[in-house]
Amino acid sequence: MSHVLLDLKACLKTFVRNKSTIFWTLAFPCVLILIFGAIFSQSTIKTDLYLQNLDVVDGEATYWADTLINALNSTDAFNLKMVDVSLNATDYAIEKRLSSLIIIPQGFNDSANMALFTHGSSSANVTFVYDQSTTSASIVQSIVMGIVERMNFELSRGVQYLTIEDLTIAPKRFSFIDFFMPGVIGMTAMTTSIFTAVSTSARFKENGVFHKLATTPLKRYEWILSRTIFNILVSYLGMVVMLVIGVFVFNMKITVDAVSLVMVAMASLLFTGIGMVIARFVKDPEGADAAANVITFPMMFLSGTFFELSQMPEFLRAIATVLPLTYVSEGLRASMIFGQADQAIFNTILVSIMGIASIIAGSLITKWEDD
């Protein structure tokens, strides 16, 4: 461990003494936050919610079905999209890769009335179909559950009306900057880690520092561990700077909990490993930056950093599912903004597994000696 700390100290001294590196490492995400924040800080995010109402009489929604639909509409959190009653809604959701869909069954109104008259000994059910891998589905689920629970509560007290304004469990409304901030924090962890790993490795390979290190008792894994810790610290530094801007400039209310900190650390681990693997195939420092760009640039745009995945075309969504940054962004949003602990932990575990695998691959593939 002493070798790791020794190299980490050297890394940090090098970083602190390189003013331009500090500036550019922190400036890029800050500029993004400021520009996008200034443009979109007032806009709110609406999630698509598909709904199939099978409880129809003479072409009109029944009373309770209509009440539920109005309640969903009045939250202003959804773009409500109706699904034709002739379709099998579940198959439709699978086919169209929908993140969330509600089915109001035939007889819902009668069931609700029955529940009203029997004081809750029976119940009226709606079916919620969702893709649990998406953060937005969890949010929709929490809102819908809140509405339905409240509705049942009101029915059991015999009150005949329902207002969404009374729903205390409805999550806060999110602005674009809320959505954007965790994405940029994840993106910064990615760019910092990949670029540092690739460019340092390429430079050390070319100028012979790796050769020198290879003649010492320093182990490769010690060096890589030190570089990983360094990348984690730089990612945390970027996170702090961005959060300060978010809170003081855009008045964001963001949560930084243990899960989000672990996620940033694991993301740095993951992308340092990926950087080491890329570096193995790069011949010189000039090629290093190009290679890092080829990896990071598409990932930046296809992983839901800037736009919600549900807004992207289907084939791009499919690509996003294989990009590790997607899970970093989803996990950070779940923990920092939406308060979805299960989603946050699920994504953090996923990123941790990928991170450990990539750092092992990076350690094995990195070579200081020649053939």
């Binding site: 050297a10 390189n18 050769h211 010492t216 000696e369 053939d371």
Partner: protein
């Protein structure tokens, strides 16, 4: 293998596809000596050093350093050697002192850092970052770094390549100091004068093969030309005078010089006496000693420094 052997190399081969960089070489380096591997660029010097310090795997053959096998006991060797790679580089933004401390930490050793800085004469640069040092000063720092673990053997790969004459002589002085401290020094160079100035023994390597290996004076005596006495702007009749006392001489019409090929049978004082007696006039007298350059030329048919540009 005796205890006085620092490095033992046997039938070492390194191939890259069809290219044989090191071709079945064998040699021994004694403890405490400066051993120079002399040859042009591309001869196989660096490849040999890199195999000995664990940076490359031999294709066949083997070697031991301080009794440890270079493949199986690499880690043991690393602890006991110091290496100055060709064109030494290190952490750019660490100072001279910080770099020495870094490598000392890597070796878990506690050297006298200020003493090392003094040894390489970098006291006034110890707070200077590596990136701001000149080529010569970087090499000096590289030597200091190579000594942080008080190594038994120091490998110096082209330590003065690209340095100006003043910086080069500074590095030579350092290498001499290492010798005085009893260190074994394995030096590679393509500078003939460097090998002549520093080495106890010289191995001449050409196209991956060792073409000669011995103490430098023995190499010159065996493979060099004889020493020569040159009479500048001399009377041509000097040739006959010299031949009468049993030596070979010839007249260079272009330069107007008489060249006398010396041997041990006739003393220079006898030559001067004979020339004086015959009233032979000349403007200047020059003694030309044979060098390792002549040895290399004689053995390979090539001049040093006319090889390929890379190892």
């Amino acid at each position: 293998m005796g205890e006085d052997v620092a490095i033992h190399v046997e039938n070492l081969v390194k191939r890259y596809g069809d290219l044989t960089a090191v071709n079945n070489i064998s040699f021994t380096v004694k403890r405490g000596e400066i051993f120079a591997f002399l040859g042009p660029n591309g001869a196989g010097k660096t490849t040999t050093v890199e195999m000995l310090v664990g940076l490359r795997k031999p294709t066949s053959g083997g070697a031991s350093v301080l009794g440890f096998d270079i493949i199986k006991e690499k880690e043991e060797i690393k602890k006991r050697i110091g290496v100055l790679p060709q064109s030494f580089n290190t952490y750019d933004r660490l100072t001279v002192k910080e770099n020495i401390e870094y490598f000392a930490g890597v070796f878990d050793s506690c050297p006298d850092v200020d003493g090392l800085i003094k040894l390489v004469d970098l006291e006034d640069k110890k707070k200077e970052q590596f990136k701001n040092l000149s080529g010569g000063l970087k090499q000096r720092l590289g030597i200091a770094v190579a000594l942080v673990n008080d190594p038994e053997i120091v490998f110096l790969d082209e330590p003065t390549s690209g340095l100006d004459p003043k910086a080069r002589h500074g590095v030579w002085q350092l290498i001499d100091d290492l010798h005085d401290k009893g260190k074994t020094v394995f030096l590679t160079t393509h500078y003939m004068e460097e090998a002549e100035a520093l080495a106890d023994r010289v191995g001449i390597i050409h196209n991956g093969k060792i073409v000669a290996l011995d103490e430098k004076d023995a190499l010159i005596a065996e493979h060099g030309k004889k020493n020569m006495l040159v009479l500048r702007k001399a009377d041509p009749k000097a040739v006959k005078v010299i031949e009468k006392i049993g030596l070979k001489a010839n007249y260079d019409e272009g330069e107007g010089d008489v060249i006398i090929h010396l041997n041990h049978a006739v003393a220079v004082s006898d030559i001067m006496q004979a020339l004086s007696n015959a009233h032979v006039s000349f403007s200047e007298l020059q003694l030309k000693r044979s060098s390792l350059e002549d040895v290399f030329l004689n053995l390979t048919g090539e001049e040093l420094g006319k090889g390929e540009n890379s190892e």
